[in-house]
Symmetry: C2
Subunit: 156 residues, 2 copies
């Protein structure tokens, strides 16, 4: 369903393509738990409070999309671990930008969790940077240009 | 509905709080069009191919959440413009990280759109940076600590 309805947008927009893979309810929270709460087993992800049929659908979808691998548990071949692939781990910046936005705008008592650099204890932030100039704090300074993957018949 | 089911997670996780506001279907694509396609009128957002009742519910929700302001159109008091607030514009990094992930993993022909710095033409990227050390390319170097907004009864 999701694929069909985002189809026109996905031709011209990688954000739409990403949302086709991880835009459904619970998807990004499942990935967050895999990244930061060491969740790998079906039962680990149940802590989210998600219905089992939906959780199963999400995990199966992640395996199909190459975001997770399903591996038999050692000594228990009938049970499985769900392990993020490089493609799945690469969603960490998406989780981070959502977290920072929530910290700034939906956390009147301050951030519930702080993200720090393990080697020095410094606060870790997402920033927008130009390859030439460094940090670009003003989104108004960003433009879009057609890229190599833009279909010839795309309507912008 | 969304608020209820994410409630337990939202206590400890700003990403869950953000998804309560912008995690529903179409939300981030509507905001993307407001940011980058100059969409402000109800009819502008229709280009997404979204059903009118869902679009109305999303825009009303954004106004209620303080992400957009509803302003009467000049000379047409019965019609409205939907304009992003600072809180809404601040979602640009979320769109950017989704776009970059889609470019890396779901764009076999290359990115459909390139994001460039308007003043120098350089490629613009999201990066994770430590306030002390600068860029932190390895997510394994990031730890979470309890923050000031963590409820005393929170279960991590």
């Amino acid at each position: 369903m999701l694929g069909k309805t985002y189809e026109a947008m996905a031709k011209v927009c990688s954000a739409a393509r990403a949302l086709e893979v991880v835009g459904e309810r619970w998807s990004l929270l499942i990935i967050r738990d895999a990244l930061y709460a060491d969740a790998t087993r079906f039962s680990d992800f149940r802590r989210l409070g998600i219905a089992t049929n939906i959780l199963k659908a999400r995990l199966d979808g992640f395996v199909e999309a190459g975001i997770m691998e399903r591996r038999p548990s050692p000594g228990k071949p009938e049970s499985f671990h769900y392990v993020l692939t490089d493609k799945g781990r690469d969603l960490a910046p998406v989780i981070a930008t959502l977290t920072e936005w929530g910290d700034r705008w939906e956390a009147p008592d301050g951030p519930p969790l702080l993200y720090v650099h393990s080697t020095c204890g410094g606060a870790v932030r997402q920033q927008t940077a130009c390859e030439n100039c460094g940090p670009v704090p003003d989104p108004e300074e960003i433009q879009t240009h057609p890229g190599p993957g833009l279909p010839a018949d795309a309507v912008l």
